[in-house]
Structure formats: C-alpha cells, structure tokens
C-alpha cells in the first residue's frame, strides 16, 4: 500500500502536507510528523488530547464512534457532532487519501 497524502491545519491556521503511512493511526501520523498532538494515553481513547475535526463528507464515511470516544469528545472544546474524532481511533485507510484534518484547540 502506498502512503496517503494528508493535509493538516494546525492551531495557528498554518497548513502542513504530510505522508500518512499504512501502519500508522491518524494520531501517529500527526505526532510522528512533529505536530503538537499530546496523545498522552498512547492511543487508547482515554485522554482526548488528539482531538481533530474532519470535513463532514469524510466524517460521514467513517464507522461510528465508540461510547468512550463519544463521551470524551462531547465535553471537548469546539466539539462538532459531525466532525470531531479522536485521531488515535482512526486507522489508515486508502479511502482517506487526500483528506484535510484540523487540530482542535488545546484545553
């Protein structure tokens, strides 16, 4: 599998173009490319420090959020019902090639 292209808008509004590798979750792709994603729980949907916004059209193609993920997100700053995800819960998929993700505000 080839890498996905990924566009990230950081908290200052700057755009970064990254490669998203097949063995990375979205959180890992962000973190390993030096974007300021704390991900303090290491990817177990516990801490919500890897919160991102997806475009609604992309969001709608994804599987439902787990109850834990939803409960953490619902209390997060800037929560979007049809856009907020924990990036640690998103595995690589070729369907996600070329997507744009926006880092949620830090709390």
């Amino acid at each position: 599998m080839s890498n996905n292209k990924l566009t990230v808008i950081d908290r200052e509004g700057s755009t970064h173009d990254l490669e998203w590798e097949p063995d990375q979750t979205l959180m890992e792709a962000l973190r390993d490319n030096d974007l300021p994603v704390l991900a303090s729980c290491g990817g177990t949907a516990s801490c919500a420090t890897c919160h991102v916004f997806l475009e609604k059209e992309v969001f709608d193609t994804l599987a439902e959020r787990s109850e834990d993920e939803l409960e953490l997100l619902a209390e997060a700053e800037g929560y979007q019902e049809c856009g907020s995800r924990l990036s640690c819960q998103l595995d690589f998929s070729q369907d996600l090639d070329g997507v744009t993700v926006t880092l949620a505000p830090e709390e």
Binding site: D23, D34, L38, G42, T44, E71, E75, E107
Partner: protein
Amino acid sequence: MPSQQPTENHLNPIIIVGAGHSGVAVAAGLRTRGWDGDILLLEAEKETPYERPPLSKELLKAGAPDESTVLRKEKFYQDKRIGRRAGLAVDAIDPAGRTVQLSDGSRLGYHRLVIATGSRARSLTVPGARLPGVQALRTRDDALELKLALVPGARVAIIGAGYIGLEVAAAASAKGCGVTVLEFQDRVMSRVTSEPVSRFFEQLHEQNGVRFVFGAAVTAIEGVDRAERVVTADGTSYPADVVLAGIGVVPNQELAADAGLLCQDGILVDGHGRTSVPDIYATGDVTRFTSTIDGTSQRLECIQNAMAQADQVAADITGQDAAETEIPWFWTVQHGVRLQTAGVRRADDEVIVRGAPADGKFSVVYLRDGCLAAVDTIAGLADFRPAKKLIAQKARIDPLLAADPGTPLTAAVFAAA
C-alpha cells in the same frame, strides 16, 4: 519551531538513560523542539521501546499476540536521528567529567544527561520469595512469563490488590484460573480510591470468580522446588501454582544517588526536570517533585507525568517554555470495566457518589475545602474532561448538585467561585 543553534561544544550527545515512556518522549520532544545535535538513548532491555500499560491488560488475554505495543516504530528513531544502544546498562555517572560508564566498560561523554530509569516492582522479602513460580509484573518478559503460567485450572495467588494485582486477577479468572487475592488492607485499591469504588470492583471481581482475603499479612511462600502455597500470619495456607506480587514500585534512583544527586524516595527535580547537579535532568517515575497544584511533594507513577516532565526537560534544554501540565490522571481496566481517575485524591477528602454503583456506571467526586480535587469515573468518561478542567481551576463545587448524575459537573460549580 525555532532551531537551537549550537553555542558551545556539542560534540557530545544528549544522553538519555532509560527508554520507557518518558525517556522516549524526551528524545522525540527534543527533535520536535528543533534540537539538531546528537541524541543517544540507552536502555538495558533489548527490544524496541514499548508501552507498559498493556502488559497487565491486553497482552495477558487469551489469543492476544505476544508482541508488545511499541512506543514509536523503529523507523521513527532513524528518521529523527535518535541513536539507540539497547541491552546495555549504565553503571555510573561522573558529573565532574560529564561521562557515563556503561556495563561493557566503555565511557561516553554527554552534553546533557537525562535520567529516565523509571521504577521497578517492589520485591517480596518473606522467606520463599525467590522460589520459581513467584514473580512480579513490570517488563515485557515478566508479562510473557506470567501469560504462559495462566492456564485453565491454575491456582493463582495474587499478593496486593492494587491496579496490577487486580488487572492480573481479571486476566487470570477470564482464562479459567482459580484466583485468590491476598490484601493487607480491608479493601481493594485503598491507596488510590474511596470505599464505594473499592466495593464496586470487589463485587465485580467476585462475580467473576475471584476470591479476596483482606487483612492478610503474607509471612512466607512455601514449596520444595517451586512455590506451592502462600502462608499468612494467621497460619492459613493458600495453595498456589503461580504467585504474583503486586505490592507497589520503588524508583530506580541508585545510579543518581551514587553520583551524588539529591534523592528522597525519588530523584529530586524542579519544575524543569533539573536535578541538584548541573546539566543532569531526571524525568518520569523515578522523580520526586513539588506539585504545582497543591504544593505537596510527590512521586507520580503515571503516563501523564512521564509525558509532562519529558516536555519540561526538552523545553529546558532547548531554552523554550514547556506546555501547560495536564492534571495527573490514571486508568485501569478490570473485567472490561474502566476506572479512570483525574487528580490525586486524599483519604480525608469529602466523597460524593454521582449515580448508582448498582447501575454499573457512576462517578465519585472528591472535594477538598469545598473545591474539586479528584474524580473517579467508572465505566463512563463523560465527567473526565470537565473534571480535569475544574480541578485545574480549583472550582468550588455544590455537593448536592454534584451528587446528581443528571447535572453536568460544570453546572455543579458555585457561581461565586
């Protein structure tokens, strides 16, 4: 990110001793913050640095792969030019000569030294504690050894009803072992949580076949060639094929203490991870420091602290500001039920139960002088993030509103805070 321009002799690397969560995070953080010089990560264990929390959870499950979850993939270290030497211990530090001595006899100079040696499982000291079949759980090798021993019908005696003991109890009972947990206190997890939470988890374990013995003072492990039974002070014998000691951890501070760094049940560090000796930092489980929240001296055994201190160290070395520190938080999963805690509770906090434990999902709120100090969430995370924020703000909480699970925690704050 601004790049640190070398202004002094940078021929020597920044040496990080210990590739656990915190050590790896320092290495990664230095690169994120623009450090261009050499970084060398030294680790006594041989494999790719890995996550410890899954060792007592996912890894022990039947059918789960033996591979541990790595902290960062091998490629990351190459891409970030983070040098690694695994399988070598550091035997000594010479602060005056700015060198470390390795177990193979070689000596390496450092530009800055970061001690991230973590903690080790406290050993049982009773007679028989060294018999085969008695073990602790701290490393991947420990976990794999335990996993092999947890076979259907095996009699498993667990000494200590803390996170580790209870996570292993859950894994062992799920695999059809006969599990007895021996605990000196009168309830489970008494150090970290309140009675309502203890009782809830005791019931959960008992429903899954785990037996508890409270007030149990273990006096010996007996057996001919290997552990056969655990004996307690009242003379009772508990037959066992496997004995797991989960009685806490001690900081791996000897290396630092021998080099003259101030230690006191942990290497003493300031809010930048600096030790008492110039150019030597320490981070993670091995440290003791003053809480910025309440001014108490503390040693925290959690990932949140491992990450926060790593950031402080990387920031200080590169002359930048560290990110704001998260409220300490902790989690455990037992029989599929997650207990997640924000803040550090004290035994004299006011305890408010939010929701009904009988429903299998509730929270417990801890107030100190009327302000939110900690929250336990059981099988639900809705209160977790609001709690972290409110603890940081030292929000004054209305106990009556907080007791109502239908009222969001944020709405239980007294208006005139």
